[in-house]
Each structure stands twice: as structure tokens, then as C-alpha cells.
Amino acid sequence: MTALVELRNIVKTFGGVHAVENVSIDLAAGEVLGLLGHNGAGKSTLVKILSGVFPADSGDILIKGQSVTIRSTRDAKALGIETIYQTLALSENLDCVANLFLGREIAGWHGFMNDEAMEKKADATLNRLRLRLPLLSKLVSSLSGGQRQAVAIARAIQFNARVLIMDEPTAALGPEETQNVATLIAELSNQGIGIILISHDIHDIFGLASRLVVMKNGRLVGTVNTGDVTKDEVLAMIIAGKVPEARQA
């Protein structure tokens, strides 16, 4: 079966520092992949190449077996690759609807926006995802952490995303909100969306991801199926950079 997304031999250096060295990963439709590693392991750099923040020095990106070029976040979005950044990257001075449609406003040829259509579609999206927000006309600066997360998630998947990248998705959330995000991730995966979860903390994503990729110092340590390993073994991979014997997926 062809993978939904394949990154092949990706290399990225920043001023002589090898941030990502020859890393290859793949993601199937509906799969939840965990990307683990310490701060500075290169995991954020790797996915930023996929989401179009900056280009790779070398290596290939394939979507359903087709080689693609991603030069900007716009290119990535056009391919259905959506990213929820750790900072959420929301515009706090704008309201929820404006944030949901930022960069993809519903407007006529003249560029004037159709506010009613956007408000209606935003409402529908939030209902579909069972995300609750008090008032769509509220400024994002007045929302709680969980509500902001809801806006960021809704923004990422309302335009038919095929791949969803979530950077530290639950790091800033309380227990209940974390549970909501877990439910949502399971639901999105059922819909066939490929999901990449990035974290430096194994506990955050062990229960969510079906497969784990561990990186250290810009290199790929290994890939394991979550069902085959214990948390301690994964922790050893993160710290020591070694794959436990006979666990290789």
C-alpha cells in the first residue's frame, strides 16, 4: 500500500548545525504517528519542512507516491497538510471566525468578504467536531487555553485536511481538555486523516499514537509499534538513542 505521506532522506542544516540528518518517515491514511525526542532532536524542524515553513536542503516529499514541492505554508495547505503549532499561531486581536478563515476567507472576486457565510460555516464546523465555543464574535485574546486549542483545531481541519500535524497538542491543557483532544484525534483518524503528534514527553502521546518514531540529535533512532513496547523502552530510545532488540517495527 502506498503511504499517504513519505519523507525520504530529508537533510536540513542551519549554519553548519545538522538539524535533520538523512531522516525518512512515512504515514498512512488514518494512522496516528507519534514523533518523539528531546528538545533539539530535530522533530520540529522535520515537520516544519512538511508544513512549508522552510524548505529541506535535500530529500523528497511524496504524497500518495507522487513527488511534491512544498515552498510555503500555502503550498502545504493546498496539498491538504495542516499544522497546529505549539503556540497555536492564532491572531489574538481577531475574533474566532476571522481566525478560522485567516488566509482563506470566503470572498467574492473583489475581495470583499462574506461574513455571514463564514460565520455559518464556522458554526457548522464546530458542531461537527463537537467543539464548544461561547461566542464566535469573541476576540481570541479573551478565550481560555482549551477554547483556543478548539479554534486552532477547527481551523486546521475544516478545509478537508488529509494530514494533520500537531506540535505538543496536550502540553498546555488540563486533564479534561486533554481527554477531549484524545477523543477528537481518534475520530479524525477514523475519518482517514493521517495524524502526526510531536512531543518531547512520552506520557503525552503514548496512549494516542499507534506507532512511534524517535529522533535524537537530528537522526532517526528507530520506529516501533506502540503495542510492542513499554514506556520505559521508549524512554531508553529517547535518552540512549538505541532501539530495544527485536522491537523494530
Partner: protein
């Protein structure tokens, strides 16, 4: 004092929200009313007269036109210090065109020059915008350079000699005795404007009901239209109430004021309803977030400066036509008045916050103080000192207000 401010805010907020009104705008309009009444008392009834309001609105037009653009420049977290020099340079350029290159009495001279002046503004904005957006030089530095460069270029291209007179049709664009649309057409414009307001409110209600969304109370919308109708009618009556010298013929609305009203409407719509304005606010709030949302922030920055240049071109047309001369010193210090108007009108220098109509109210407040002090015979240096203090106090009040809101 802070406690009182918060208390007052919460009560006034609740009343205003119930009526669906903008508290900030009401506050600014209240300030303006206080200033007008005070000046009227201090000048012994000279301030609120058709004659003075007519002149005031003429004086506001140029600053107002440019403030519309400056609001968006500041919202995008940039600054344009070159707008005063742009006025001067583009003015000398346009005047030279009419006197040296085109027949001054030609029937097409006025619009060819006008288009060229607008084009010159766009080009200046393009050049400065490129340096800011693509070369990554801070806008403060680029436009400070622009201020110096263009002011001296204005001097250099005609050796500092003022170019006059100008084409007669062109002069109409600056207002003055013949540069108004007369009593009859003023009433026509008045009627159309009121009908326009009613139409906008009605269409918004209908669209919301089609989409079955929450409506503002009907009474609040009716009140809104009524207030606008009264303001528009009173303004028109005032403009018509100022008579041509030694006659009983009313002047009517000056052409520059019509231009200002048009620019304000268009720029408000662009800021609030257009994708461009939405992106400008997003970029001003957080450039990184806007970039990650897929907005091309460099192209957007370039466009913001080009828009500012276009409005400088328009401002220059009005000033130059009004003075009937292209002088290299025209527009000196205008950048400060324009920036002050935007800031007094509630535009945050930190970016991401501001309204076009607020900027216009700010421009009216600045111009009212200046013209009131002239009527009172306050010496020019003292006028400037007062305006400087007003600017600082306005920003202070704004800071306190925002803090109270956040608390």
C-alpha cells in the same frame, strides 16, 4: 480613580452593548463635543458657525484622507514618516507638469495631472515598501530617509521656486469659492447618503435573517439610521448656510470634503470587510501567525505602503489645488498631524488595533484645536505646544482605558 473608571466603563459598556453601539466611538464623539463647546465659549461664539465649520471641514480633508491610510500603516505595525514630504514632492511634480509639460488651459490637463500625481504616490509607496518588505529595513528608517529625500527632491526639481498658477479645473479639486457642489447638489448628496445608510442597515438585517442569525434590536437600528440622518442633514445645512461673499447664495459641500467622505467610506470597508484589511490586522497582531496562516506578509507590506502612497497622492492633489501652487515646503510637519490623528483616534502603535473612523474623528479633534486657537489669537508656537501635549495626554488616556478593559 481607576476604580471609578472601571465602574463607569462597566455601566456604559452595558448600556452601549444593549443598544449595539461602539463605546470607544461614543467616547471620542463626546470628547469632540466638549472641545467644540469649550472653543465656542472661549472664542465668544465664533467657533460653531457655518463659516468656521465650512473652513474646518476643508482643512480636515487633506489630513483626513491621509489618516485613513496611516491607520492601516500603523495597524500593520509600521510607520510612514514621509507622508508630509510626499505631499510636497508630488505637489511640485504635478504643478511642473501643468506649467512646463502640458498646456495649462488644456481640457484634459486636470485629470492627466491628477492621475500622474496618484501614480507618483503609488510609485513612492512601491519603492519604500520594497525596502521595508523585501530588504527588511525598518519602516521607521526607510520613511525617515524618505522624509528627507523627498522634501529635498521637491526643492531640487525646481530649484526651490514655487510653481504657480495651476489649471482652473484642477483648482476646483481644492475647494475654495467655486470648488463646491452648490446648494442643490448638496441636498441631493444628503438625500442619497441618508438613503444609503438606511439601505446598508436594511440589507444587513435581511442577510442576517436569511441566515437565521441573531439580530440587533430593531429599535437600535432605527435609532442608528435616525442619528445618521440628523448628522448628515445638519452637516449639509451648515455647508449650505455659509454664504458666498456679499451674496445670499449658499456654498454647499466642498469637493475635498466629498473626496474625504468617499475615501473614508472606501477605506473603512477595506479595513473591516475586505480580505486585504483582515490580513493587515492579522499581520499587525502577529506577523508570525499571519505568515503561518499562509498570508504573504511581504507582499502585504508592500501593498500597505503603496496604498499609503496613493492616498498621499490624493492628499497632494487637494492641497496643491487649494493653494493653487506647487511649493516645496507644502506639507511640512503633516506627518506628525496625520500620525497624531490616527493615534488620538485609537490606533495602537503596537499594531493590530485601530479604526478608520476613529482616525477621522482624531483628525477633526486635532484640526478643531488648531483652528480654535487661531480664532482665539493664540500665538503659533503656543498652538504647537498645546497640540503636542494633547497628543501625549490622548495616548495616556488610551493606555489607561485599555488596561481597565483588560482588567
Amino acid at each position: 480613580m481607576n476604580f471609578l473608571a472601571v465602574k463607569f466603563r462597566s455601566v456604559s459598556d452595558r448600556i452601549a452593548r444593549a443598544a449595539g453601539l461602539d463605546v470607544r466611538l461614543l467616547g471620542m464623539l463626546f470628547m469632540m463635543a466638549v472641545i467644540w463647546l469649550t472653543l465656542d465659549v472661549l472664542t465668544g461664539g465664533l467657533f460653531i458657525t457655518p463659516r468656521n465649520i465650512f473652513n474646518l471641514s476643508l482643512q480636515v480633508s487633506v489630513v483626513g484622507i491621509m489618516t485613513c491610510g496611516m491607520v492601516l500603516v500603523i495597524v500593520s505595525r509600521h510607520i510612514d514618516l514621509s507622508v508630509g514630504s510626499q505631499i510636497g514632492f508630488i505637489g511640485v511634480f504635478g504643478a511642473l507638469m501643468q506649467n512646463a509639460w502640458l498646456p495649462i488651459d488644456g481640457t484634459s490637463t486636470w485629470w492627466i495631472t491628477s492621475l500622474a500625481m496618484l501614480g507618483a504616490g503609488i510609485f513612492i509607496g512601491f519603492a519604500q515598501g520594497l525596502l521595508v518588505a523585501y530588504a527588511g529595513i525598518p519602516s521607521f528608517v526607510v520613511t525617515l530617509g524618505g522624509l528627507l529625500f523627498l522634501r529635498n527632491a521637491a526643492f531640487y526639481i525646481n530649484s526651490g521656486v514655487t510653481v504657480a498658477p495651476l489649471n482652473e479645473t484642477f483648482q476646483l479639486l481644492g475647494g475654495g469659492l467655486d470648488g463646491t457642489i452648490g446648494v442643490f447638489w448638496s441636498w441631493v448628496v444628503c438625500g442619497l447618503a441618508i438613503a444609503g445608510v438606511a439601505l446598508i442597515v436594511w440589507r444587513s438585517r435581511r442577510r442576517r435573517s436569511v441566515h437565521s442569525m441573531a439580530q440587533k434590536p430593531l429599535a437600535s437600528d432605527v435609532l442608528m439610521v435616525a442619528i445618521w440622518a440628523i448628522v448628515i442633514a445638519v452637516f449639509t445645512a451648515t455647508m449650505n448656510g455659509y454664504k458666498q461673499p456679499k451674496t445670499d447664495i449658499g456654498m454647499g459641500i466642498p469637493i475635498p470634503v466629498l473626496i474625504l467622505i468617499g475615501v473614508t467610506i472606501v477605506m473603512s470597508a477595506v479595513a473591516r470587510k475586505h480580505r486585504f484589511g483582515r490580513h493587515v490586522f492579522a499581520m499587525g497582531g502577529s506577523s508570525e501567525s499571519a505568515e503561518l496562516a499562509g498570508i504573504d506578509t511581504r507582499r502585504l507590506t508592500l501593498l500597505v505602503f503603496m496604498m499609503m502612497g496613493l492616498l498621499c497622492g490624493l492628499g497632494s492633489i487637494v492641497t496643491t489645488a487649494r493653494l493653487n501652487a506647487g511649493a516645496s515646503v507644502t506639507g511640512t510637519m503633516t506627518e506628525l498631524t496625520v500620525i497624531a490623528a490616527a493615534v488620538i483616534g485609537g490606533t495602537s502603535l503596537a499594531g493590530g488595533i485601530g479604526t478608520v473612523y476613529g482616525g477621522i474623528v482624531g483628525a477633526v479633534i486635532m484640526q478643531s484645536l488648531e483652528s480654535g486657537m487661531i480664532l482665539m489669537g493664540v500665538p503659533t508656537p503656543l498652538q504647537r505646544m498645546v497640540l503636542a501635549l494633547v497628543l501625549i495626554i490622548a495616548v495616556w488616556v488610551d493606555t489607561v482605558y485599555r488596561k481597565a478593559r483588560r482588567a
